[in-house]
Symmetry: C2
Amino acid sequence: MSGRLFGIGVGPGDPELLTLKAVRLIADSPVIAYPAPAGGAESMARQIAAPHIPSGKTEIVIETPMIPGQFPANDIYDRYATEIATHLNAGDDVAVLCEGDPFLFGSFMYLFGRLSADHPTEVVPGVSSLGACAARAEVPLVSRNQVLTVIPAPIEEAELERRIAGSDAVAIMKVGRHLAKVQRVLEKLNRIDDATYVERATLDNEVVMPLAEVTAEAAPYFSMILLRTSEASDA
Amino acid sequence: MSGRLFGIGVGPGDPELLTLKAVRLIADSPVIAYPAPAGGAESMARQIAAPHIPSGKTEIVIETPMIPGQFPANDIYDRYATEIATHLNAGDDVAVLCEGDPFLFGSFMYLFGRLSADHPTEVVPGVSSLGACAARAEVPLVSRNQVLTVIPAPIEEAELERRIAGSDAVAIMKVGRHLAKVQRVLEKLNRIDDATYVERATLDNEVVMPLAEVTAEAAPYFSMILLRTSEASDA
């Protein structure tokens, strides 16, 4: 009988923001897998879950090359899916740790696509960086009947401008080396003063500040810019 | 010294999807507050958190009239903010339970706006219905550099159509009595076959089905429609 595959959202960073279900499934699964940049740098997902990973687990590091502007090649996920399937076929449950929520820009979907047809699979939602950044910035994402647009910063500049211009409320994710581009677009739209910059929300080295005051040339991958139009009715 | 005000996301429904932090703060706060429809119907937020609420708490039911097409009047939040402030001023911590995530369409923002200037306040993010519905529908929300648009179903039909037409991936929230309108718009855009309907995600009476097969005239408030365009690169 196949083991079960779990895609587990471990939340935005604070280990206390794991769900009870995540903690239980991590404790019960003999095999734990998590993404990490190729080359030996630490896995963010593992770091977040670390206090909840009992010793003695088999661990699979899903090493993915981090090349700016590129997504990992399919054969990487083919290879790790095969490795994970070996454990599932042996009857062992495998818990794949995912930063934030597994199905909001998570790479777990690539393993899900390769394994869920043949193995019982469950996606366990987690606290996403969206809610976490809004909480830490003390900026509600959306209220009443506002529309929220979630935009990955790497999209092309004209498209970024078009998307922001048409939106009530915006969360710009994956800011990284696209920081200057986002600042430029918001300056042009005359909305930079409505924007809040959040870096590593809920972690010890968290940064929250008005975007207009950010002078760095690049941001970490785990950063977000929130833009909101207050409604008169918000009060 | 003032007590602390916590806005606590209790997640989408399954009590095991509370975070460790939510459980701790609920246990430690002598006063628990939560929204409920006026007239005595049960509070969804309290129901979700119920297994984690120790006995002996002071409980404040934030009763809000549920009138289709209207938002509760400001004086309701004025009144409850005053009641909560009484406890904070007495030095007691108050935990306000919020369905899903507090800052994604949550009414906690109205208490936050009235109380956070005078009392230490912390927003504790929770698992939002967005991630939960995607997990249960087994439909990733967005991948790679797709833009996600989160749309409240009550917006005007032409605007709904315009928003959906321009989006890669869409989550339509607060479906309720707007179900037929959403179906009509998706039929017109020839996208109804890409849409999944999710009702009461992660609860025992959860429903997940293709939107095209939904024949009900209205949906519960806690329902969502997910629409996604697969990218060739998703594989």
